[in-house]
Symmetry: C3
Subunit: 134 residues, 3 copies
């Protein structure tokens, strides 16, 4: 298992991690397969979306907060239940194909850590699955 | 990596792709493992849900639009931020088990591409992971 | 493919399945790889979130019902469209790393079946993917 560490800087933000994952792929020597990225935290999540215009992930953050408003009453005493809900809406892992040692992403895609209860030091775990070329 | 192409016909719709994936499984000769399906776009996503009654995916579309109304103001100039949000809510990939050369799905399940900013020509990427029989 | 059976007891609830999956990992003899868990139903889903304080999953349930209110009108005659929508929001599968025969989860994480249209007898399918140690 490989690990990367990310220091988030705001209460909520999407941070692109594509380059960090690509670097791990190169270090691993994997030519063909899948990169599986897992978030071991419960108030942040992972998603793949547009990285060309940073307004898109800003809008996803805005949209998520409209979906799960922060001023609602919840049972959990820590007061961060909206962050837990957003984490489950995004999901705790993503997987991306690798071919010829390169992550295969669409033209506009990047891999993002969604921080919903920061700023914190977050770790991500990565494992590679080797497959045939096709 | 295998690729399938899908022409969506509406602004928003769920299109079943189960048969196309099953056909790829057969062509690949995979007997036991996983089919990993990845969407390289940022305004459509993938989900697995009921395919018996088409009202179900129609209702999921209705539900998503109630969750992310189209008349909200967002920063992204293209005006399709609700589509990006829906894509992240559904997710960019699904994985399905394969046994004896057949996709393993529940009785009512089908695999769907969720188009949220169509109509467009969409591509899906598929990779197979071989595993032991169990 | 391995199968576990879970009897849900309420209309809606999150039930932790971490121990059942860990037991399957041990029975399988898998040392390093991934456990892939698939839900073959269309009105329940899978998520990974906090298991230390049961208020957290109770709040996720509350949050999901605020997002998809039960009193909305939908087309599907069975009347359980909100359950189908919640299932797609959570997702039909999760994957967790295994190292030295142990599931690798964050300190606060557990694996949960989210029942949205119970009580019912639910099955979950599990497949293991072997990988190198790293």
């Amino acid at each position: 298992m490989h690990q990367i560490t990310i220091n988030t800087r705001k209460t909520e933000q999407f941070l692109e991690i594509t380059d960090k994952i690509q670097q791990l792929v190169q270090e691993s020597g994997l030519k063909n397969g899948l990169a599986f990225i897992f978030c071991p935290h419960t108030t942040c999540g992972l998603t793949i979306n547009e990285h060309a215009d940073p307004d898109v992930t800003a809008d996803i953050l805005t949209g998520l907060t409209r979906i799960v408003p922060v001023n609602q009453t919840f049972a959990h005493r820590e007061g961060n239940s909206p962050a837990h809900i957003k984490a489950s809406l995004m999901g705790s892992s993503v997987a991306v194909m690798v071919e010829n040692g390169q992550l295969l992403l669409g033209t506009w895609q990047g891999i993002f850590l969604g921080e919903f209860d920061g700023p914190r030091t977050r770790r991500l775990w990565v494992k590679f699955i080797e497959t045939d070329k096709d």
